[in-house]
């Protein structure tokens, strides 16, 4: 026996050696399914053609997949005497280039290379095994994939293939089982049952006929571990099957492989034929007493047929439906005989264990999870692929190390392991080791090795719905909990994602999920609820947002969000409507539409940070629609045309409300109360109205005249604004409470934070808030020639840009401790600052103000570097010790953040304070601890955006109205939908193909720096119409909108007809 095998192997090795030493170069093209779908066959053809045309003697070989899915098609070129080089993303054109440059010439085109393979190094090309994708991997079961010709048994034999079988046959079945036991191998199909124990059951079961079944019915969405092995190294599986058959006492094996894997099936059939030819399969294998045959059974692609009893039913020719266990297949399985069903990878591992010994196998892994495991790393990860890692590696190492992190550097949100049977693991558990037990503790399973990475644009409720939809459709329908329960889960999830979630749904989901897990007949039902349970466990707030607030935080769920611009707007401005009106040239109506939700359109058109644009669907493939610029156009149009404010007013209701602070929150609240008939008085400490709008936003962004225009609208609505009236000084707070039915405190956050370093009090150190306010109110400011600004937020950029406009400043330097990517300031502001010549010093943090003669002379900084990501997902800056350096300055502006001034909080007026120094309110109602007093805006949130402050004002008005009318003060949410239907515009072919977003016209830089003139200019009417026509009208895609559209159309038709 041994001689026979040794002969086979010796011959194979000789041939392999000859191949390796051949003077003929070789080209290896990965033509597994993944490669083919990326165009590998075309690349193969291109190489063939090139070689033929150039008359080059070169061996062109098809191999399996090396796992770098992100770089398919992959080609390796092996020139004699050199290390091989792997190239990724090879196209037919690139193939021609490679043949010419490297095969004919001697230029390995290092820029296109992924890395070198084998021994030796080449300059400019890293060793593939040392690239981040491979460095942490331990490729054992995948070792031959992409290396050998899967259609050539000699290649497998040359890699010591079938040595494991030969070793098994040389010993007893009991000893084989014992070796598997000592290896610690657990089932790679998902459940992780100790393989040896299963084998032992079957070995011990009574019966003449026993069967071994290989489960190659890989059905998880996004999983392709088995396919890759079957396509790249089919003999590894056959060898495993033979060993298992020998160990359990079976003479017949079935290979159950889904018919959707045609290439795998083809490779398997070839392999079976070769193994038989070599006497490795069939009667008296290798001259032993062991006979074994393998039949291939093609599955029709039912997910449930991965369940072993359903798989058995399917082989028997029945409908693939599971049956309860016991009896277990090991006792009564296929045709009622003892049967073992193992996963492809499990069997592939057994051949390695028999060849290399259990100790070799167990050198990797954790105490209870031994060896390596393959994973299909997919989803929103930079380097997708098939990877094999030692068990126990952390999710972080896999996703950020091997996978290179999240695609487009978006924040990581979760990873789904185990396919539809598994669960989602959040960022906080990224350091979970990947092993059977740790994953289970996290609420998921290893499964067959699917790993789907999700970024922050993934809605976790929607993900749960997606997996449930899959599980539900694949349920065999036999048992009640699975058939009806998963459908119920799906229906509830669908309701939630479509805005029909009800209070109690989360509890219902959990209850159903537990009952389905406990009550279902087979593994499908027992695990199907896992995605629901884990997403509830880790992302309950997202469920709550959908159910209670009818919001999809990730802006995914179509029926909830209607259009993302409307959904993301904190005050629900109906962008789709006014954009549609602008597109139709109905500018006046557009402006009126804006006014319905936003009484400060001119302000917002200039300073809003436009979250609407951040999720604009048009932005997915190009630039988002310029919503703010369109609003600006409409507002400016209205101003130019003299379209006056005509606020709707209800009859006076006799109630009085006091508002403290005339910033965006106060103005909004005042307006909304006034139009309801309230007698509203706003108390403003400054001499002009506008709060932060007036004090902090530079004139070149928001001219005072524009501010006045909107403030006047508020006043015309009936709101009285008493400027220069400081509550607590000019009017006692108690008096307000006496004279008014309710009070809304919206005094903002105007106090700058301190640096907390030496020298901060020196002359020439300014705080950004004071500085901006003084400039805006035309107060005296004194700056030096060289101005430094510390901070990376909007105040810092504003201060920097204002400083540059103030004599005698010549030079402004912004000092920020992180990098530009992490700057919280609006991107366009940073860009404008750049244009204007402001310099940035990143990764530097001040450690001391250098004071000379009591005046600032500079700042000493420490260099920083970025460490691990923190909770926000941003990498944390870490000081580099001893890296102090000095920057010479005449003025230092500190803009590291603001907080509410304490004159209104705490003991002053009795409002409770949070530990962050903000007013303590109920976030849902803005109710403070003082009866009849509400608070909102920056005083509650800390420094925030204009639009968020307005949203707080809107909410305050709503709650105060309820309070005054004696209704329960609670917030009600409904689905956001445009209040009117505007039909879509007809687009020309050119518009569909070529429309682009026009840049916002701006004042030339040299003009800007002459003073404080407004920098941004409005669109022309032509530009505005063209831009508005780019809107994709997402609002028309929801079911409700469709109904409206259909109704209007049918009405139109009936009128027309």
């Amino acid at each position: 026996m041994t001689e026979r095998f040794d002969d086979l192997q010796a011959r194979a090795k000789t041939e392999w050696q000859a191949l390796a030493e051949s003077p003929q170069p070789r080209i290896l093209v990965g033509t597994a399914t993944c490669g083919r779908s990326a165009g590998a066959m075309e690349v193969l053809g291109a190489f063939g053609e090139q070689l033929g045309r150039r008359g080059l003697d070169c061996l062109l070989m098809e191999v399996g997949c090396i796992g770098m899915c992100y770089a398919e098609p992959i080609v390796s070129i092996l020139k004699p005497g050199r290390p091989g080089i792997s190239y990724g993303n090879v196209t037919p054109e690139k193939a021609a280039e490679l043949v010419e440059a490297y095969l004919e010439g001697d230029d390995p085109l290092p820029d296109d290379a992924l890395g070198t393979v084998g021994d030796g190094r080449l300059d400019g090309i890293p060793a593939l095994s040392e690239t981040p994708f491979f460095a942490a991997q331990v490729r054992r079961t995948l070792r031959n994939c992409g290396v050998i010709d899967p259609a050539n048994i000699d290649h497998y034999l040359a890699q010591d293939g079938y040595r494991g079988l030969q070793r098994a046959l040389a010993t007893t079945p009991e000893e084989v089982i014992d070796r598997i036991k000592r290896s610690g191998l657990r089932g790679r199909g998902g459940a992780g049952f100790p393989t040896w124990r299963k084998w032992q059951f079957c070995r011990d079961a009574k019966g003449d006929h026993k069967y071994l079944v290989c489960n190659a019915d890989e059905g998880d969405p996004g999983a392709f571990m088995n396919r890759s092995l079957l396509e790249g190294d089919p003999h590894a599986l056959l060898e495993g099957m033979l060993i298992a058959g020998y160990a359990i006492g079976a003479a017949e094996g079935y290979l159950y492989c889904r018919a959707e894997y045609p290439l795998a099936l083809e490779r398997l059939r070839v392999a079976l034929g070769q193994a038989e030819e070599y006497g490795l399969l069939g009667d008296r294998i290798l001259g032993s007493h062991f006979s074994f045959r393998i039949k291939i059974k093609e599955g029709a692609g039912a997910f449930v047929c991965g369940e072993e009893t359903a798989l058995i039913a399917s082989i028997e020719g029945r409908r693939g439906m599971p049956r309860p266990r016991p009896p277990f297949p090991a006792v009564s399985g296929l045709w009622g005989k003892p049967t073992i069903i193992n996963n492809v990878e499990t069997l592939a591992c057994t051949s390695l264990i028999l060849r290399n010994g259990p100790e070799w196998f167990a050198q990797y892994g954790t105490e209870k999870s031994k060896g390596t495991k393959t994973f299909a790393l997919v989803g929103k990860v930079k380097r997708t692929g098939l990877v094999e890692v030692p068990l126990g590696i952390t999710l972080r190492e896999m996703i950020f190390g091997i996978g290179g992190g999240v695609l487009d550097d978006k924040p990581f949100k979760a990873v789904q392991t185990g396919g539809p049977s598994g669960g989602c693991i959040p960022a906080s558990l990224l350091d979970t080791p990947v092993d059977y037990d740790s994953l289970q503790a996290a609420g998921t399973i290893m499964g067959s090795g699917g790993m789907v990475v999700m970024d922050n644009e993934t809605c976790m409720v929607d993900i749960a719905r997606y997996f449930l939809d899959f599980a539900q459709k694949e349920s065999c329908g036999e048992c009640v909990p699975c058939r009806l329960g998963t459908k119920q889960l799906l229906d509830v999830l669908t309701d939630i994602t479509e805005g029909r979630g009800r209070p109690g749904d989360i509890e219902l989901l959990v209850e159903l999920a537990e009952a389905i897990k406990k009550g279902s007949l087979c593994g499908l039902g027992q695990t199907a609820p896992n995605p629901v349970l884990t997403t509830i466990r880790y992302f309950r707030d997202e469920y709550e947002a959908h159910i209670n607030q009818k919001r999809c935080p990730a802006i995914v769920c179509k029926e909830i969000i209607s259009s993302p611009c409307l959904h993301t707007c904190p005050i629900s401005t109906q962008a789709p409507v006014y954009i549609a009106l602008i597109a139709q040239g109905r500018f006046r109506e557009a402006f009126e539409s804006i006014l319905e939700d936003n009484p400060l359109p001119s302000i917002c058109a200039r300073v809003c940070h436009h979250p609407c644009e951040s999720k604009c669907q048009a932005g997915k493939w190009g630039a988002p629609v310029a919503v703010r610029a369109l609003k600006r156009f409409a507002a400016d149009y209205a101003a130019k045309e003299g379209i006056g404010p005509t606020p709707p007013r209800a009859e006076a209701n006799g109630h009085k409300v006091a508002i403290v602070g005339s910033g965006p929150a106060g103005l909004m609240a005042g307006y909304r109360l006034a139009v309801r008939g309230y007698d509203v008085t706003i108390f403003e400490a400054m001499e002009i109205a506008g709060g932060a709008l007036a004090a902090c936003i530079p004139e070149y962004r928001l001219p005072n005249s524009v501010l006045r225009r909107d403030v006047e609208r508020i006043e015309q609505a009936g709101v009285k604004i008493r400027t220069s009236t400081r509550i607590g000084k000019d009017v006692p707070f108690a008096k307000l409470r006496e004279d008014f039915d309710a009070v809304f405190v919206a005094t903002g956050a105007h106090a700058s934070r301190k640096l907390g370093i030496a020298g901060e009090d020196a002359e020439g150190v300014l705080d950004a808030m004071e500085f901006l306010k003084n400039v805006n109110l035309n107060n005296q400011v004194e700056l030096g020639r060289r101005v430094g600004v510390i901070g990376g937020g909007n105040s810092a950029v504003d201060a920097a840009r204002v400083a540059l406009r103030v004599e005698p400043c010549e030079e402004v330097l912004v000092i920020y401790r992180r990098t530009r990517e992490e700057m919280p300031a609006f991107e366009e502001e940073v860009e404008a600052a750049d244009e204007e010549g402001i310099r940035f010093h990143f990764l530097a943090a001040p450690s001391r103000v250098i004071v000379r003669d009591g005046k600032v002379a500079g700042v000493e900084c420490l260099r920083m570097e970025l460490g691990e990501p923190d909770e926000s997902g941003r990498r944390r800056p870490v000081p580099i010790e001893g890296s102090e350096f000095a920057i010479e300055l005449d003025t230092l502006i500190v803009a590291i953040g603001e907080h509410p001034a304490d004159d209104f909080l705490g003991e002053a007026h009795g409002l409770s304070v949070t530990r962050w120094g903000t007013a303590k309110v109920s976030p849902e109602t803005l109710v403070t601890n003082v009866e009849g007093v509400f608070a909102g805006g920056d005083i509650v949130t800390g420094p925030n955006t204009v639009i968020e402050a307005m949203a707080a004002g809107k909410l305050a008005a709503e709650m105060i109205d309820r309070y005054v009318r004696g209704e329960p003060v609670k917030r009600e949410y409904g689905l956001l939908r445009p209040t009117r239907y505007e039909p879509p515009v007809e687009l020309t072919e050119e518009e569909i193909e070529g429309a682009t977003r026009p840049a916002t016209p701006t004042l030339p830089v040299e003009e800007r720096l002459k003073g404080l003139a407004e920098v941004d200019l409005p669109y022309t009417a032509e530009m505005a119409v063209a831009e508005a026509r780019r809107c994709l009208r997402c609002d028309l895609e929801t079911v409700h909108a469709k109904c409206a559209l259909e109704r209007i159309q049918s009405e139109g038709e009936s009128h027309g007809g």
Partner: protein, 898 residues
């Protein structure tokens, strides 16, 4: 019971049979555990998940799959059990189209029971999403509807159809929530393989499968099915004077609760408006209604003119034992002739004649219930699933248990789906086939020599006769590949116990008796007689064909097969009846019509028969009857034959009278009156007795049917121990020799009923059929039966649903023959034989082999017996309705579907 298991359920100590499940144990102990997918007849599958219990040490466990093991401590309730069960129940309820009060399963619905047990909390239900879909109801089947909206997918119907019925008409289709119970390719049930047995409807725990017409009966009457010879126990549901339902009697050993489509749904004929309700007397060629006195006086007066051998009576295999006894007593004692026969002549005369020779007794040697335990079943000349559907179930059950089924039949019948070996021999070559098999058995030394040596005789002569049957000859003659014959022989001889079943495919031949002997030879040779689950089992066609024979509606015997030529027997009956009796055997069925034709017989009293359709070469019968002097027909409908009568007497159906039937396994079972006969119709016994009394005879005054049975028992040794009192507790299988005799399920266990007490192996030779194909008549016609009709369809065509399922005759013809003759599916053809011509529509199918066509005799529109051959078996006098030569010509093309 020896093997008992003790366990604790809810603190109660419970005893269960070994092998019982925890659920069985609980239900037996009167402890309810909710369940939907469990049915005692079916393998537990555990899909409804409602029967979860908590077992100490095991946690949540399915009680329907867990074996009751000693010492188990079971709790049927716990918080966990409740959680799983409640959710499952709630999900079922919200997905169920509930219209309980209008639902025919109201009050019997298992879901209702579960709902009330679990307790429904409206608030909890309100949380759940209800489906919006509504699926169309399949109303295609005439007897029941399938409403998927009420389906709980317990799968009981699927398993019933598969496990119990072996039909497999339905299965699960689609996946997930869309899973549904469907026929193949989702076709309407009526177009599927479904046999409409209704077993699924009975078992459906909810209203998903529900009878189309349903009225709760106000009472139920246990009686015996009036259709085939299986003799299924049946509960007729009665409301007022109407039969509203029928259900199987689970206690009946023959049927064990099963019913076929006819037995379950085929009783509308009883209340049919065309029933005869008053005596009819033909005057001037037209029937006129008459009073009973007028009619009976006329009959008595005229019969008195034909006493002696000018009179003949045809009794019926459909009337009761008591009535048959009275008809033959009337014929013999009052009319003084042995000219009495009945249609057994046309079906199983060769069984009686043949098995009498080899075993000494011409009935099923074994019982129906034994069939399922056979290791091998050789079914030859029986389309069991169509003609004896409930016996067909036992065959399929046996196959399911691992038995080998060998089917020998010229046609690819439904049973072939379950067969290990199918021998498709040419019609009329049964002797060659079986002798070929026996030659293999002898040559391969598979004979049960000990059995042959000790219990058989005539082996040597028999063995010699095998010489003529070398396998080349056999293959040539039967056209069965020789290897198949060898395989079949080996299979039959090596799997014991082996059982032979046959029916008219064996008997209706000019060599029918030889065919029967071939079967008995086969059984004797392999020792498959006198042991459980073996034997030679002729399947009797009609409900009481066995009883009609037993009670001597035969020309040569008194009741209990006591020969009329036997002076001792004659003396016994003369003494009992107080008259002198003829010692000359009378005329047989076929001979009677010949005798009428040639004037020897002048008067005919015919009870419940329709020979115009059932007799071979029926033109000849019709001609004969047109010339007879006096012809009285006693029947429930004005049949094709009754139209020729001079007097028609309206009789009662099985449901309208008391009595007994004897089924094919010799089981005497009660028939009980459920409703009153319509109008003036009367039980046959009353009519016969009235005629006799008006002719001045004594001995026809009986208080009731049980009094007749007492007289039968007194005179008939094999019925000696039978009385109505005993039959109250179920049937008795004859021989039942005295009041304490338990009856005899198994014949010949110790010795045979032959004179020598030994089984006789009979040498046989191959005789071709009387008529074979030739150039003029190139096709062989063989007759067969439909599942949906019975005999001449007098009853079944009065049941709308059965007519809908099989509305007209479709003669089967092989595609090769059809294309040669230019015939397409649905065409109307002319079938011509030397005796006559009929028109019939065709069904082109490979059920028949090339050269063979087949048709039933159920349809008067296509009276196939016009063309059949009345050549008769010399011994049994049975006509050869299974083989005749015909010509088929296309007459008109199929009418395209509307």
């Amino acid at each position: 019971m020896a093997d008992e298991v003790r366990l604790t359920i809810d603190g109660l100590r419970v005893t269960a049979a070994s092998g019982a499940t925890v659920l069985d144990a609980a239900l037996d102990a009167g402890i309810y555990i909710p369940h939907l997918c469990h049915h005692p007849d079916l393998e537990p599958v555990g899909v409804c998940r409602l029967c979860m219990v908590e077992i100490e040490g095991r946690g949540l466990t399915l009680s329907c799959r867990a074996l009751a093991e000693p010492g188990l401590v079971v709790k049927t309730e716990s918080p966990e059990v409740d959680m799983v069960r409640r959710i499952a129940a709630e999900l079922l309820i919200v997905n169920h189209h509930a219209d309980c009060l209008a639902c025919s399963k109201n009050d019997q619905c298992q879901l209702q029971r579960i709902a009330s047990y679990v307790g429904i909390d409206e608030e909890r239900l309100e949380r759940l999403r209800r489906p919006e879909r509504s699926v169309p109801i399949d109303t295609s089947n005439p007897f029941f509807d399938h409403d998927p909206n009420k389906c709980v997918l317990c799968g009981i119907c699927v398993r019933t159809c598969d496990e119990l019925q072996g039909v497999g008409a339905i299965d699960y289709a689609f996946r997930g929530y869309d899973t549904t119970i469907s026929t193949f390719a989702g076709r309407p049930i009526a177009e599927s393989r479904c046999e409409s047995c209704g077993e699924c409807v009975v078992r459906c725990p909810v209203g998903a499968l529900r009878p189309k017409r349903f009225e709760q009966p106000s009472r139920e009457v246990l009686t015996t099915c009036p259709y085939c010879g299986v003799g299924c126990g049946i509960y007729l549901g009665v409301r007022g004077n109407r039969i509203t339902s029928a259900r199987g009697d689970r206690e009946n050993p023959a049927s064990r609760g099963s019913l076929c489509v006819k037995g379950r749904f085929g009783h509308d004929f009883v209340g049919h408006p065309e029933r005869l309700t008053t005596p009819l007397v033909k005057r001037n060629g037209r029937f006129e209604e008459a009073t009973w006195d007028e009619a009976l006086d006329l009959v008595a007066k005229r019969f008195a003119q034909y006493q002696g051998d000018r009179f003949a009576a045809l009794s019926s295999a459909k009337i009761t034992n008591e009535e048959n006894y009275l008809v033959q007593k009337f014929t013999r004692a009052v009319m003084g002739t042995n000219n009495i026969d009945h249609c057994a002549r046309l079906c199983h005369a060769p069984s009686v004649a043949g098995l009498a020779q080899s075993f000494g007794s011409g009935a099923m040697t074994n019982s129906i219930g034994e069939i399922s335990q056979s290791a091998c079943i050789f079914a030859i000349g029986t389309n069991t699933t169509a003609a004896h559907p409930v016996i067909g179930l036992r065959i399929k059950e046996a196959v399911r248990r691992g038995a080998k089924l060998i089917v020998a039949n010229p046609k690819r019948i439904d049973l072939c789906r379950h067969a290990e070996i199918f021998l498709q021999h040419r019609p009329g070559t049964d002797v060659a086939l079986m002798m070929g098999m026996m030659r293999v058995i002898v040559e391969q030394d598979l004979v049960d020599q000990e059995f042959v040596d000790t219990r058989c005789e005539n082996f040597d002569a028999f063995r010699e006769s095998l010489a003529a049957f070398d396998l080349d000859f056999v293959e040539r003659t039967t056209r069965v590949p020789r290897q198949k014959t060898i395989d079949a022989a080996r299979c039959y001889a090596t799997h014991r116990p082996a059982s032979i079943l046959y029916a008219m495919g064996i008997t209706q031949h000019t060599h029918g008796t030889d065919n029967v002997l071939a079967t008995s030879n086969l059984a004797l040779l392999t020792g498959n007689v006198g042991k459980p689950s073996t034997g030679v089992n002729p399947l009797r066609g009609q409900n009481n064909v066995q009883g009609a024979c037993d009670l001597a509606a035969l020309p040569n015997v008194f009741p209990g097969y006591q020969k009329v030529v036997d002076p001792k027997a004659r003396a016994k009956f003369e003494a009992a009846w107080g008259c002198s009796l003829s010692d000359t055997p009378g005329l047989t069925h076929t001979e009677i019509f010949d005798a009428i034709d040639d004037g020897r017989v002048k008067a005919l009293y015919q009870v419940g028969e329709n020979p115009i359709l059932s007799e071979a070469d029926s033109t000849h019968v019709e001609k004969a009857l047109e010339g007879i002097d006096f012809f009285v027909v006693q029947d429930i409908f004005l049949t094709e034959t009754a139209r020729l009568a001079h007097v028609v007497l309206p009789a009662a159906t099985f449901a309208e009278k008391d009595g007994t039937f004897t089924n094919t396994e010799r089981r005497v079972q009660r028939v009980r009156k459920a409703v009153d006969p319509p109008g003036e119709a009367k039980p046959d016994s009353w009519i016969t007795c009235e005629i006799a009394k008006r002719m001045g005879a004594s001995g026809f005054d009986f208080a009731d049917a049980s009094a007749v049975m007492e007289e039968i028992a007194a005179l008939t040794p094999s019925y000696h121990g039978i009385s109505y009192e005993r039959l109250e507790n179920g049937g008795l299988q004859w021989p039942c020799l005295d009041r304490d005799h338990p009856g005899t399920p198994l014949l010949h266990s110790q010795k045979f009923a032959t004179a020598s007490g030994k089984g006789k192996l009979m040498p046989l030779e191959y005789k071709p059929s009387a008529e074979t194909e030739d150039d003029e008549y190139p096709l062989i016609l063989t007759t067969d039966r439909s599942l949906y009709h019975f005999h001449t369809s007098t009853m079944t065509r009065k049941v709308d649903g059965l007519s809908a399922l099989h509305p007209e005759e479709l003669m089967r013809i092989h595609p090769d023959d059809a294309s040669r003759l230019g015939i397409a599916e649905g065409d109307v053809v002319e079938v011509t034989s030397r005796r006559g011509r009929i028109t019939v529509r065709v069904n082109v199918s490979d059920v028949c082999p090339p050269g063979v066509v087949s048709a039933t005799f159920h349809f008067a529109e296509s009276p196939i017996n016009v063309v059949t051959h009345c050549a008769i078996d010399p011994v049994a006098k049975i006509p050869e309705t299974k083989v005749c030569a015909v010509r088929v010509e296309k007459r008109e093309a199929a009418t395209p579907p509307a």
